[in-house]
Point group: C2
Chain length 453, copies 2
């Protein structure tokens, strides 16, 4: 793909410019749809989060107005603001798609930029799917080139790399040639921002929302001739060298069109740290079989890879946010209430006396032979009996991705929990699976609005 005389930025832009819907593998298209479905699901879940409410009020005070839609809400704003707010909503719980190698949540910056664009000009269903797959590809490849150092240094990689993916995705829809797509990268590079220090605070959403908005703006500017440097990514003072150490440029250019990063994108079944997936899977199974009757439990021991203990042995968490990485809380809340949704990781759930009591019974033991994504749970009852359950591959990992059905279930549960007024949300599921045949992708947003006040 890479010709010697091309810069990395030019090669990436050239790939996007030349990409054809007919050449895109079916699996790639399908995974892009899954990311889109999950993005809608988590936006329905996050659309009334305080960070989104406050941002909307602020933009409103500055006069934001227009016809662009907000997922799960009836207000309308301009497309740039819609891209910002939908991205913030989709990512606010970190429950959106995850590219495990980089920990990027790629759909949040990219999909909302495209949805907003689809309300500004006609974007077909295939064009949206294709651009989303390309935007995810661009975001994750740039992330690969500077991982793990970039995130470790303190860059919130979803935002910093997402703005480039959003820019090239929007640029593809706008029909830009490779030269203008490089300008779009340049305009995006001037906006690449986001710090890990902001995680756990509303400020995080300014970065993620800004990436979607900034990418859309970057592409529109480029379409109008707003130029940028020849090598915004790999230039001496370009994004990769400034925010990374010894960037691996091959990661960006090798295998373009044959290796697809969206195929390594996973979807979380539970709104907590991925390391807890297996623990929750095991507890659900124990609960289903009646093997861990709460009142009869003496101790619950989790035998897992040392990483599980290092990351999640947190018996004394006090807030919803902390509980997202506590194995003790995950065990207690799952055995008590079944499949954990967003309500399972709130301050209220953490401080519920029943949860507090049960989590006291949980301990973690290292099993050096344990698989990272697995766990062996031993439940000792007060009568002296023991039950054991082994999970080798948790739901929502590379080895055992959520099925389409499980993804639909997640979607429905989040809509029911957080956006119950959106009476047509269910129609989005079929609409997304059948997006290839849709002439106007913006109709997706019609189903994303509240139908009752």
């Amino acid at each position: 793909m890479v010709v010697d005389s091309e810069t990395v930025s030019q090669a990436l832009a050239g790939f996007v410019a030349a990409s054809r819907w007919e050449d895109m593998p079916e699996r790639v298209k399908h995974e892009a749809k899954r990311s889109l479905l999950n993005c809608f699901a988590t936006a329905f879940a996050g659309c009334r989060d305080d960070a989104v409410e406050i941002s909307l009020a602020s933009f409103g005070s500055f006069g934001a107005a227009g016809q662009a839609s907000l997922i799960g809400r009836s207000e309308r704003v301009d497309p740039l603001t819609a891209a910002f707010l939908n991205a913030a909503a989709a990512n606010v719980h970190d429950f959106d798609d995850t590219h495990l190698r980089t920990v990027i949540h790629p759909a949040a910056p990219v999909a909302p930029a495209l949805l907003a664009l689809s309300e500004k000009r006609l974007v077909s269903g295939p064009a949206l799917i294709q651009a989303l797959a390309l935007g995810i590809e661009v975001t994750c490849r740039i992330g690969n080139a500077i991982s793990p150092g970039h995130y470790a240094r303190g860059w919130h990689i979803t935002s910093t790399c997402g703005v480039f993916g959003a820019a090239l995705a929007a640029g593809k829809v706008l029909g830009l040639d490779a030269r203008r797509l490089v300008w779009a990268l340049g305009n995006a590079s001037a906006q690449a921002s986001g710090l890990v220090e902001t995680l756990g605070f509303m400020a995080k959403s300014v970065g993620v929302g800004g990436a979607a908005r900034g990418g859309l703006l970057a592409a529109d500017l480029a379409a109008r001739g707003h130029d940028g440097p020849a090598a915004p990514l790999e230039g001496t003072r370009g994004f990769l060298n400034v925010t990374g150490e010894a960037p691996a440029l091959d990661e960006i250019t090798e295998g373009l069109g044959t290796r697809w990063e969206v195929l390594s994108n996973i979807h979380k079944p539970y709104p907590c740290g991925i390391v807890l997936n297996a623990v929750i899977d095991a507890c659900l199974e124990l609960r289903g079989k009646g093997l861990a009757p709460i009142k009869a439990v003496d101790t619950i021991t989790l035998h897992g890879h040392p990483l599980l203990r290092q990351r999640a042995d947190r018996p004394d968490v006090a807030t919803g946010r902390e509980s997202q990485v506590s194995a003790q809380h995950a065990v207690a809340i799952t055995l008590l209430r079944g499949k954990p949704g967003l309500a399972a990781f709130t301050d209220a759930a953490v401080n519920d006396p029943a949860t507090l009591a049960l989590r006291e019974t949980v301990r973690l033991v290292d099993d050096p032979d344990g698989a990272v994504p697995g766990v062996r749970v031993v439940v000792a009852l007060k009568d002296g009996s023991e039950h054991e359950l082994i999970i080798d591959h948790a739901r929502g990992t590379d080895e055992r991705p959520l099925t389409d059905g499980e993804l639909e279930e997640k979607f429905r549960a989040l809509v029911a929990e957080k956006s119950p007024a959106c009476g047509e949300a269910d129609k989005l599921i079929d609409a997304i699976w059948n997006l290839d045949g849709r002439e106007d992708a913006s109709t997706l947003l019609h189903f994303a609005r509240p139908t009752t006040p």
Copy 2:
């Protein structure tokens, strides 16, 4: 000023929150006004630059609308967009104020954010001057803490640090307490961006415009409770550590309220690299005295500190932009046309046969004893005679700042050259000098509009 228990971010926010107009030294207030005057001047000069035209068209296509003013233009937009476009216009020629130690242009991100805010809510003249001085202070102190490494690595420091200054300046006007000002810093930190790689391209303006807009947004969000981390600046994954190496935190906290960075802010007399100021001063004097008659010149030799040669010995420049750091071009255009304005550094000026011929006569010689801001110019005429002229301190340096009169002259020249339709611009000069007595700072913008179509 710093109490042990405070973080650096808290100390800076606390200083801004506690600052009182009565305690601000007169010199600081006056220098803030000078920066404001210069900012208007360069915005009049840049308001029809391609980068601004294209950005305005793009924002317009996204539905930007409102009552906020654009300097030098009749269009109205929303305040966030106005902050963006006025900042881009003010900085596009790099002819705005310069904090020499950091090479920050501090007024461009800060003043437009405040001007836009003054059209959203009543801001008094004193409140605007005070907030501008504080915003410049914050911007430059943060820059000091990470200079020179930050810029050297590739960060466009005007943008990256300016967003914090704009945020605290706007936050001061909004009356935020220290806790909310720290949130404003956090919301700003998620938007801190801008790369040196983009300099020389329109993409630069996306960074500078974004800093003004982002700072204004960050403050408004904080006012509404949009929270952020406790230490957005000095946290382990905060701005200073992520974008700097071993940041000097003292630079931010020491001497707050006693040492003022705006006093080290200079204003360029000529729209080119500061290193050429002395060369142009000398040529103006030679020209005035008739000591360098063009047709009789054999050679012109510049004896200067080696830095002059290293930075500006560029005999073969071909574009207006390159000519801004060419000593050969500066000599030729000044001797030929007199005091150089923006038209002196255009493609047309560079490729004018008369300029091309004269610049051939110019050479640079190192004088290790030469002062950095000075130069000795020796003109050898074809008849064998020689004339010498020595400049120790150039106009527009710390030692010889532009007088208020020279600043007014620069203002008038830029309005005449680039915004001649703004018939009331001249009234801005008095209005700014007398801003202390003005109840509504937004009236400044009334004088900044075109009065003829």
